[in-house]
Structure formats: structure tokens, C-alpha cells
């Protein structure tokens, strides 16, 4: 048991757990078995078994049983359920479409369903259930109140509300201005822009995976990996001093983790070329600037040559393609910077302290 725990602790370190979750995501999205009813039950049983067994560990119990963290356990189950539900329906519809049958939604009603009673009544039931749930929650779990606030004392670790933990995790890898203002703004604007970028009518009003494979992969990657998983990491794996801790590891305030950062300029000028940093900041940051320019300006053009991407370019047209591609590349900066931090301790590509311009 201890061996399993220390293995899980080891695998929880972000460079491995993140990689593992990418592989699992890939496997899950390609799997057919997982999205059958039996697959769903097995998945539910496995998650519950894991939580049940893990709760026997005192270190795990302390973190998971905190009233603050109840929503995240709920989130794991809810996101899992809705993911399974959508994929289950999508596979069912894909089979029906392949067999020339009407989709699940079409067979339910040919023309339309009514707001009243079909929609409003379901909403009413949801409202009653949610109210009951909230009342029970507020009675059963104590509010996590602490001592009176003091501006010179922060709890260690200091965590954002659970739904912002993805953003807090992002703040670890980017300049505060990028991670706090630019990227959250782009997330919101980008989500609003999706219907204008992706004008493909397929999948409107019915579940499908086959007809919208790339789009669903992209969205689920952003939502499940870059949002939900970061919330789970922030909740369960970030301990005192914002260090990483395995789920069964004691949250030791004095845990020593050497994390001395380097910038790309220092990495190349000092460690690779063996000369000092040039005093001119443009020359100093030239590699980062070239990389950023290549990434955002040249890469989208090069990618058009790729057969797979070219299909989207043809469908979307240049404007939609470039806007969509820029948003996609910005999203991908997150995992890129995370990996570079974990493996090279890289801090910024471009670090122009003179103008507070950091990427």
C-alpha cells in the first residue's frame, strides 16, 4: 500500500501527471468502450473506489474533507458524468447516422419541443433539487471561517476560490499582467468568438463526434485539461508555499524544492553561448523575440501547408483561420510554458524588465 502511495505521489508531480492526463485524454477520446453504459459504470466505480481508498490516508483526508474542497470533488463527478453523457449520445448518434437512421434527438421529436412544459418543468425540478442540496450543504458543512483579517498575514497556502484555481495556476507560469488580464480576457473573448470562427452547421442540435472530431477535441482539451485539471491540481496538489505535494504527502511548510528560474536570454547567452548578457535589452531578448514572432506570425502560415490544417483553412477562409489559429496558439502557450518550467525552470521567453514586458 505504501509503495502504491509513493508511486502515486511521484506520478502526481506535474510533469508526469500532466503528461499522463494528456495520454489518458487521448485514449479516452479515441475509446469506444468507455462511452458505453458498462464503461460509464466501470469509470464511476473506479473513481469512487480511488476516493474511498484514498480517504483512508490521513494526509489525503485532510485536504479532501476541507469544506472548501467539497465542490471540487463534486466537479470531478459532474464533469465526468457530463463528459460521459455527451460522448455516449455522440457515439449512439454516429452509429445511427452511419446506419441511415434518424438521430436520437430527431427520433425524440420530429419538429420542436415546447418551452412549457418541456423546458420550464425540467428547470423547475432542477431548481427544487438544487435548493434542497444547497440547504443541506449549508447545514451540514461549517463555513470555513478564520481569524479576523490582517493585511500582513496570508494563510499558507493562499488559495483563490476553487473556480479560479486554474487562473491561479496560470499565474505561476506567466507574468501577472499576462495571466491576470490578457489571457483571461482572451479566454472570454475567444469563447464568445467560437460561433463566428466555427460556422460549420454540423452538430447543431444533436450530439455527434464523428462529424466534429477536431473541434470537440480542441474544446475538450481546453476545458478538461487546461481548466478542470488545473483546478484539481490547484486544490489537491498545491500545498504550503505553493509547492507541489502528492495526494498522500504531508503538507510540510519547510519542504525544500529548488526552483531557481532562468529566462530564455540567460539560458542561451550564459549557459549555452558562455558569454554575458548583452546590455542592450533588444539584443539581450533577441532569441525570445524571434521565437515569439515565429510562433505567432510565421507558424500559422507554415501550418497552412499541412494537409490536415489546410482543410480548415479552405473551409474557414483566411480571416477566420488566422483569428482561430492565433487563439489556438495562445491557448497552447500554457502547456508549452508549463513544460518548460517543469523541465528547464524557464521563466520568461521575453523578459524586458525595462518596460514590464514579459512573456
Amino acid at each position: 500500500m505504501e509503495a502504491i502511495k509513493s508511486l502515486i505521489n511521484f506520478l502526481s508531480y506535474p510533469q508526469w501527471s500532466f503528461t499522463l492526463s494528456l495520454v489518458l485524454f487521448w485514449l479516452a477520446m479515441r475509446s469506444k468502450l468507455l462511452w458505453t453504459k458498462a464503461g460509464g459504470w466501470v469509470l464511476l466505480a473506479l473513481i469512487t473506489l480511488f476516493f474511498g481508498l484514498a480517504m483512508l490516508d490521513p494526509n489525503f483526508f485532510v485536504v479532501v474533507a476541507k469544506p472548501d474542497n467539497v465542490p471540487i470533488v463534486m466537479m470531478v463527478y459532474l464533469v465526468g458524468f457530463f463528459w460521459w453523457f455527451a460522448m455516449h449520445k455522440a457515439h449512439e448518434n454516429d452509429r445511427r447516422i452511419a446506419d441511415g437512421e434518424p438521430t436520437f434527438e430527431k427520433s425524440e421529436s420530429e419538429d420542436r419541443i415546447f418551452t412549457w412544459p418541456d423546458l420550464v418543468f425540467s428547470e423547475f425540478i432542477c431548481m427544487v433539487l438544487l435548493t434542497v442540496g444547497m440547504v443541506l450543504w449549508s447545514i451540514l458543512l461549517k463555513a470555513p471561517l478564520e481569524e479576523p483579517a490582517n493585511t500582513s498575514v496570508a494563510p499558507n497556502p493562499s488559495k483563490a476560490p476553487w473556480y479560479f484555481l486554474g487562473l491561479q495556476e496560470m499565474l505561476v507560469y506567466f507574468d501577472p499582467w499576462m495571466a491576470g488580464v490578457v489571457l483571461p480576457g482572451l479566454i472570454i473573448v475567444g469563447l464568445m468568438a467560437i460561433p463566428y470562427i466555427d460556422t460549420n452547421k454540423k452538430g447543431n442540435g444533436y450530439y455527434t463526434l464523428k462529424e466534429r472530431r477536431t473541434e470537440i477535441w480542441l474544446f475538450m482539451f481546453g476545458f478538461l485539461i487546461l481548466w478542470c485539471e488545473l483546478i484539481v491540481i490547484g486544490t489537491f496538489l498545491r500545498g504550503p508555499n505553493w509547492n507541489f505535494f502528492g495526494p498522500f504527502e504531508y503538507w510540510d511548510v519547510n519542504k525544500v524544492e529548488p526552483l531557481v528560474n532562468v529566462d530564455l536570454s540567460e539560458l542561451i547567452w550564459i549557459q549555452i553561448l558562455g558569454v554575458g548578457l548583452p546590455s542592450n535589452f533588444l539584443l539581450r531578448e533577441i532569441f525570445g523575440i524571434v521565437f515569439t514572432g515565429f510562433y505567432f506570425l510565421v507558424l500559422p502560415v507554415i501550418l497552412i501547408k499541412n494537409k490536415f490544417v489546410n482543410r480548415f483553412y479552405q473551409d474557414m477562409g483566411p480571416t477566420r483561420y488566422y483569428v482561430g489559429m492565433t487563439l489556438f496558439l495562445t491557448m497552447m502557450l500554457m502547456p508549452i510554458k508549463m513544460y518548460l518550467r517543469w523541465f528547464l525552470n524557464l521563466k520568461y521567453f521575453v523578459h524586458i524588465q525595462e518596460f514590464f514586458l514579459n512573456l
Binding site: T151, P176, N241, W242, V260
Partner: protein
């Protein structure tokens, strides 16, 4: 727009405006106030002349500006309260002899938000606000570093950032020796920033 027959359709409005200049106001008003007879509202509207309208608009505009200005003044006054329930920015921390070489004094962090650091005989006051997003970091004696609990920014004993997301070193406050009692006087209102090369300023440190 609903499809009720009493309401005026846009085409009808256009026709009405051709026939008489008083009509369009009534036609435009009709959908909003269904119950009011159109003729009466037309008379009421006709009483407001163009010149009259502008003088009323001027009164309204002056009133609005005055009210907004009043609110702004009250808000400005609110920014300068009569009583401040916060520690003074300038305070005494004791004589130089109380700060031995190579120590980080934590006595004034909770009350005033500064560490008094003696680094090889050079005494300075580090302001306990993380330069990343403003959380108060902790001093970890065993690891010889300041570490922020919010996003994991780490600083050496002298305040230079070396780990985590923070973009610049911790700031320092002005220190001086009070000529009356020889105590160190810390003034947080005056800050010294490393990236501006201010740490060698004579007010930024004391020689023990």
C-alpha cells in the same frame, strides 16, 4: 413589436408624416402608450417647441452635471477619512545594536509589514509585499528565503527574486537613525527599487 392591430405599422408612420407634420410624434408614441388616445398626445407634444426643448435639455444637463459633480466630490472626500485605523508609515524599530549581523528580524512584519535585515553589517528594511500580486510572503529561516504562499514566488535574504512567477525583487523602505534617541526610523512612504538601481541610495540602508 407585437402583432396587435391597434399599433401603428412603420409604413403607416411614413404615410402619416407625408400628410401632416404633427402626426409622426403621435404615431411614434402610439405603440408605447396603447391606452392614451393618439390625438391628445399629439397636442401635448406639439406644445414643446424646438427652442423650449433645448432649454429644458440644458436645465437637465446642468442638473445632471451638478449631481455627478457632487457625487464625485463626496467620493473624493471619502478617500481622505478623518481617522485612519492603520499603522503609521513612519515608525521606530529600536537601536542598531538590536539587529545582529546576518539576521532577518521578523518582529515588525505583523504590525508594520517590514523585515529589518542585517546583511553583513548593512541594515535595510524590506517591505513585506510580494511584487508579483501583493500577498505577504513568509520568511523561511531554514531555507534562507522569503516565500510567497499565493503563487510560490521566492526571494533571497536580500530580496532578490529567484523562483516562482514574480517579475522583480522585493522593495525596500527608507531607514535612518533618529538623532534624539539613536533608534532606527523606518519610513515606508519612501521606497527603493532594485530595478531602478536605488538600493545603494544613502537612505536605503544603514551601516551597523
Amino acid at each position: 413589436m407585437s402583432d396587435t392591430p391597434e399599433e401603428t405599422k412603420p409604413e403607416q408612420t411614413a404615410q402619416a408624416s407625408e400628410s401632416s407634420p404633427a402626426q409622426p410624434a403621435a404615431a411614434a408614441k402610439a405603440p408605447a402608450a396603447k391606452t392614451a388616445p393618439p390625438a391628445k398626445s399629439a397636442v401635448a407634444d406639439a406644445e414643446v417647441s424646438r427652442r423650449g426643448f433645448f432649454s429644458w435639455a440644458a436645465v437637465a444637463w446642468v442638473g445632471f452635471t451638478a449631481a455627478a459633480g457632487g457625487c464625485l466630490t463626496a467620493w473624493g472626500r471619502f478617500m481622505f477619512p478623518n481617522v485612519l485605523y492603520e499603522p503609521p508609515t513612519s515608525f521606530k524599530v529600536g537601536p542598531i545594536s538590536e539587529f545582529p549581523v546576518d539576521t532577518v528580524d521578523e518582529r515588525f512584519v505583523e504590525s508594520n509589514g517590514v523585515w529589518i535585515v542585517n546583511e553583513g553589517g548593512r541594515i535595510y528594511a524590506i517591505i513585506a509585499i510580494c511584487t508579483h500580486l501583493g500577498c505577504p510572503p513568509n520568511w523561511l529561516e531554514a531555507q534562507n528565503k522569503f516565500k510567497c504562499p499565493c503563487h510560490g514566488s521566492g526571494y533571497y535574504r536580500n530580496g532578490i527574486n529567484f523562483e516562482g512567477p514574480t517579475p522583480r525583487p522585493l522593495e525596500r523602505a527608507a531607514v535612518s537613525v533618529d538623532p534624539d534617541d539613536g533608534q532606527i526610523l523606518v519610513d515606508k512612504a519612501q521606497k527603493f527599487l532594485w530595478e531602478r538601481g536605488q538600493w545603494d541610495d544613502p537612505s536605503a540602508f544603514l551601516i551597523a
